[in-house]
Symmetry: C2
Subunit: 230 residues, 2 copies
């Protein structure tokens, strides 16, 4: 069976897990603490980042873009109307733009700083960058959430799914980021009813179940995290 | 004619310019100061990042991954042995891994901090984040260069081009990053003869000429910057 090196609070790992699940792949999950810089892991991915996918022939794919494009080329392309990337190059460009938006821009503005300050710094030893959360970083990241939720609401309000009529990598990327923030109780859903409707539809999919059932050691999710009707 | 919004010190812009040039595209170049947050530019790309490509039909592509994948799908695929992404999915994965390496990891560890401290902060008004370079940031980034040059040397020493036998997006991504650092005189070539040999071959290509001829206002490049025999 293939192996996916991941972390429950890594959005890019969640993105790939959702793709694998939507396409019906089974994979062994190995939780990696990247800050430990394990030699075996760095041999697989010298960049030391998640996720990393090792297939049945021990061939290694590093990073969510590499893995998602590979899965599209080798499997998605055969899925017709269940393909998670479109056929048309401009539609594909729009889907990829959204993946970048949620897994790079929102990651940088909001998700990575909040996850680092609230989750990773508690697990990382002091000498390696662990410690108490930095309240200034938290404040800045929280200030950025509102703008991102507005954009998400605009997308969700003007299209059936975020990139158009069909579920796509764009929805899975957004869902990966939103689900991490929601675990941490950082999203005020009362402020974003349109985004909430979209997220409700997305989190009701079977591919979301394993994410909603997962718990991070020492960190209880917000009470509605796993509720499909929140 | 299509338009490319870019900045001379943006590695992702340089990457796309190299691709366009290798494939024989002409495009109008518009230099964008992203920190000005021009309304017209944000309408094209709400993320406010470079590069942005607007085609003859005013369709917009945002970000280097989106643009490079689009160019491969619509043009590269017809280029046979001059294609800059491979045919084989695993080979494509390796090329994309290298693009990520040079335009995300190296960008984060080295190129972005050095370009920000040494170029952008001089151009950005004080209230918007401009000012004197932060010597601690410079020191950290410079400390990271050596490891990246080692990895580049390893790739260049074990393969004809960085991803294998053929010139690929991997070389153009690395060349985009290295050329910005070389402009700034941040690379000690005497320490990396194998990487130097690779870069010498790359910068001799006609696609590199416009980059080597370009100058940033108020910032003279290192004396050997445009020399093909440096």
């Amino acid at each position: 069976m293939p192996t996916l090196y991941h972390h429950p609070m890594s959005t890019t790992s969640r993105f790939v897990r959702l793709i694998l699940s939507e396409y019906g792949f089974q994979a062994d999950l190995v939780e990696e603490q990247t800050w430990e810089k394990r030699r075996e892991f760095l041999t697989l991915n010298p960049a030391g980042t998640l996720p990393v996918y090792v297939d049945d022939n021990m061939r290694t794919l590093c990073g969510c873009t590499v893995i998602s494009e590979f899965l599209d080329e080798t499997h998605g392309v055969l899925k017709r109307d269940r393909r998670l990337l479109a056929e048309d190059p401009f539609q594909r460009a729009e889907i990829r733009r959204l993946v970048d938006w949620f897994l790079q821009k929102m990651e940088q503005d909001v998700t990575r700083p909040l996850a680092r300050e609230r989750v990773f710094k508690l697990q990382i030893p002091n000498g390696l960058g662990g410690g108490a959360p930095d309240s200034k970083v938290l404040r800045t990241a929280r200030g950025n959430i509102r703008q991102h939720m507005k954009y998400l609401s605009w997308l969700a309000g003007s299209r059936t799914w975020l990139a158009g009529d069909r579920l796509s990598y764009g929805d899975l990327a957004a869902g990966a980021a939103i689900s991490v923030l929601d675990y941490l109780g950082e999203i005020d859903w009362a402020e974003s009813p349109i985004a909430k409707d979209w997220y409700q539809r997305l989190k009701s999919r079977p591919s979301f179940r394993p994410l909603l059932a997962e718990r991070v050691r020492g960190l209880t999710p917000v009470s509605h995290y796993a509720d499909l009707d929140f």
